[in-house]
């Protein structure tokens, strides 16, 4: 069986009990016979397959596996039930019987949920009408049965509605970029062809925009990445000196970056 089909099969189980019911159904046995059948082995085999496929086996599945193995191993021990019966109280219920009861109870609700599903299918085709707006202006509004949760739910509804309306994009103009990284790179290269060393601030005028400074900086980073330039900064927030990779700024008294 391919890996894919296990994935699909695993997803249809809502938990370990669901898996157990599936195995019982497949083996065509009664739930009461679960511990005299091969179900425990099949269940463990299934978990192993999940592990082989490197899927995370939820702790709930392992818990049920442990319970199954425990009950099964007790049944292998010599029975002392007759003597024990006298001392058996309600709290010391037979674990096997307890487990079967649990499984039966789960099955009961699982089957009920199938009935709910059928009803849901039918009633998804039923439509209700919104109320007419008949409230008079001077009619006092009396609110009853309201809780803080109702208020919160109403507020969240308003918020989510607002979010939807805000998502409608309004037409707006997008301006062509005035400064591009490519142009700035060329500008830096040209400057370095003329002079051995330039200062970062020289790349733009003093009254420039923030965007030009940012684009210049990105261009500088790009040149660094291309290994075209070396960069030296003497102190924190100090001037950034830019030079070609193989230039050494001896006159600045600087060591390499």
């Amino acid at each position: 069986v391919s890996e894919m089909s296990y994935h699909i099969r695993l997803q249809q189980f809502e938990g370990p009990l669901d898996l157990l019911l599936h195995l019982i159904e497949k083996a065509k046995i009664d739930i009461q016979e679960i511990f005299v059948s091969e179900i425990t082995e099949q269940y463990l085999k299934y978990l192993r397959q999940m592990e082989e496929l490197d899927m995370e086996v939820a702790s709930e599945f392992i818990l049920i596996a442990a319970t199954l193995v425990e009950i099964k191993s007790r049944s292998l021990l010599p029975k002392r039930k007759k003597e024990m019966d006298i001392n058996l109280t309600d709290e010391m219920e037979d674990p096997e019987e307890k487990f079967i009861q649990h499984l039966l109870e789960y099955k009961k609700y699982k089957e009920a949920s199938e009935k709910f599903r059928q009803r849901e299918n039918v009633f998804s085709k039923v439509y209700f009408k919104l109320p007419e707006e008949v409230l008079e202006d001077d009619h006092p509004v009396v609110l009853t049965g309201l809780t803080k949760d109702c208020l919160l739910a109403a507020f969240e509804k308003v918020l989510s509605r607002k979010k939807i309306s805000m998502e409608v994009p309004e037409p707006r103009q997008i301006h062509r970029d005035t400064f591009t990284t490519q142009n700035k790179i060329e500008q830096i290269k040209r400057a370095l062809d003329l002079r051995k060393c330039i200062v970062f601030q020289e790349l733009f005028k003093e009254d420039t925009t923030r965007i030009e400074v940012i684009v210049s900086f990105i261009a500088l980073l790009e040149l660094l990445k291309q290994n075209y330039v070396r960069v030296v900064q003497k102190d924190l927030f100090g001037d950034i000196y830019i030079m070609k990779k193989d230039e050494y700024p001896c006159h600045l008294g600087l060591q390499g970056s």
Binding site: G15, A58, L63, H102, E105, E111, E120, K125, F128, A153
Partner: protein
């Protein structure tokens, strides 16, 4: 007022209201007894059914409301393209079934029955308004108790929680 007139009034009121109308309020306005009203409402419900009308009267707890008959839903979808109601996941359906039959019930109690964690499923059901928190259970941690809502009844077309589909019987003497 004769019975026919009362039926006509109820019909008109249900049309305008859209929302469920309480039987108590109706009886008061119509100046008839609760029993008389229930009798007439039952007759109306059966009449709509018998004539296979497109509109039916549904009863939720002690309220009545107009809605369409499911048989004609396909035509409504074809002509009006309403938003499809989202159906519940299997996990949500199981959890909801347990809450419906065992309410009021706490999260640990639900988890004990299902054998898996249910916090996400419960928050989903709360969000969809199918269940609500109602009080806390006495005992360690005072866990929240959950019950089903009117929206739950509407979602499944159930008139009251006493009218839930019967559970498959088992020896349950606890």
């Amino acid at each position: 007022l004769n019975e026919k007139e009362i039926m006509a009034i109820i019909e008109a009121v249900l049309f305008v209201s859209g929302d469920p109308i309480s039987l108590d309020d109706l009886a008061e306005v119509l100046e008839i007894t609760d029993l008389e009203l229930r009798c007439i409402v039952d007759k109306m419900i059966n009449l709509y059914k018998y004539e296979r009308r497109g509109i039916q009267i549904v009863q939720f707890e002690d309220k009545i409301q107009f809605c369409t008959h499911p048989e004609y839903g396909d035509y409504i979808q074809r002509l009006l393209h309403p938003v499809q109601k989202q159906s519940l996941s299997q996990a949500a359906m199981e959890t909801l079934a347990i809450i419906a039959y065992r309410q009021p019930i706490t999260r640990p109690e639900i988890e004990a029955i299902r054998g898996v964690k249910c916090d996400y499923t419960i928050s989903l059901l709360l969000e969809r308004g199918l269940i609500k928190a109602e009080g806390r259970k006495d005992g360690p941690g005072r866990p929240i108790l959950y019950v089903t809502t009117e929206e739950f009844l509407k979602h499944f077309g159930i008139s009251s929680i006493d009218e839930l589909p019967e559970l498959e019987e088992m020896d349950d003497d606890r």
